[in-house]
């Protein structure tokens, strides 16, 4: 489980391990098994070591589940950077999906702006790939590869549009 995801979930308020896991399960639904939400404690440990979260001893008990984790200032900064990042790891859509949810629930950023920013980036990449495809002579091997890249980018862009639509509706409902 990506560190930044857990960190972002702590950005709103300190939480216990099991609460975090519950929220992850909610957000991932049937995919939570495959994505190993149980790994959360490992991630929390790493975050603590990196100084991005601390344990609130006063509120915690010995039970690991009931330990309360609090984000540090450094952690906040890290979350901010992560939210602004537009790198596009392939093919793991889950991270982006969680990014949006985390941003919304923590009130850190408008998920729609995040989607927009990502869309722009992907469109630019699509443009580059498309222009390259057009420039290639017909039937070249490179053209075929470029066609594949174009298709995937198209598919991702399609999904980003879905995200935008969905989050707009969600906002309207609130």
């Amino acid at each position: 489980m990506q560190q930044e995801v857990v960190l972002a979930m702590l950005a709103k308020e300190p939480s216990q391990g099991f609460q975090l896991r519950a929220r992850l399960n909610d957000a991932l639904g049937p995919l939570s098994e495959a994505l190993n939400a149980g790994q959360i404690y490992v991630t929390l440990g790493r975050l603590e070591k990196a100084g991005l979260v601390v344990l609130d001893d006063a509120a915690s008990s010995a039970d690991r589940e009931r330990k309360v984790y609090v984000i540090t200032a450094a952690g906040h900064e890290r979350v901010g950077d992560w939210l602004a990042e537009v790198s596009w790891p392939k093919p793991d859509l889950a991270e982006f999906h969680l990014k949006l949810i985390a941003a919304a629930s923590a009130g850190l950023a408008d998920p729609i702006s995040i989607v927009d920013a990502q869309r722009r980036e992907l469109l630019r990449r699509l443009r580059d790939a498309e222009r390259a495809e057009i420039a290639e002579p017909e039937g070249s091997d490179a053209a075929l590869l470029l066609a594949g890249i174009v298709r995937r980018l198209q598919a991702d862009l399609q999904w980003l549009e879905d995200c935008e639509a969905s989050w707009t509706t969600r906002r309207k409902r609130q």
Binding site: P89, K90, L123, R124, R125, R127, A132, L145, Q154, A165
Partner: protein
Amino acid sequence: MNDTATSVLRTVGLHKHYGKAEGLVRAVDDVNLEIARGEALAVMGPSGCGKSTLLHLLGGLDRPSGGEVWLAGKRVDGLSERGLAGMRRREIGFIFQSFHLMDELTAIENVELPALLAGRSPRQARRRALELLEQVGLADRGRHLPSALSGGQRQRVAIARALANEPLVVLADEPTGNLDSAATLEVLRLLDRLHTAGLTLVIVTHDQRVAATADRLVSMRDGALVDEMKLTGGSARKLSDLVATER
């Protein structure tokens, strides 16, 4: 605000309404747009967002309920039917999703039609049509009927037709909507070539592939422009980065 001298098309507060009171539909809602000479603009949006209506208003195929439309520095939204027809003859070229070629005319007869309407002599019109067919790579198919041409070829004939009278701007409504992937590439290649040669284009599309080839992209929702994005001068990434990120 761009210099009006270089803007080919400009709209100010353009809107188109249907119905009234509760039944009021704002097909196009207060759109301010400016298209520079030689620019390729893509208009995207979900179906029913009004992008086709916007195109029709720009091209004089429909009259706005209000607002201004300027073509090459002249105001055109209030023109008479005669004036609009003249505008469509001389300054505007249209490309449609369903090609809209005349089924009973050969490719070359379709292409020369606008020239004939503009009063050119048959010989001139025929010569121009041959030139254009060459440009779009269909010189050997001049005598074919549309039914004997593939989708991509038909759209290329339609593009040639749109260029017959050397228009200032070409308006394309979902030009690749009825085409498969390979035909889309064909058409994109052609449009790209024309654009590089200086053609001003406004393309309405829902296909990101098509939109990505434009210089600028605007998004519409519920009749209004909601987003604008310059696609040129984008990220500094090299092409290899695209492949690298596949890993």
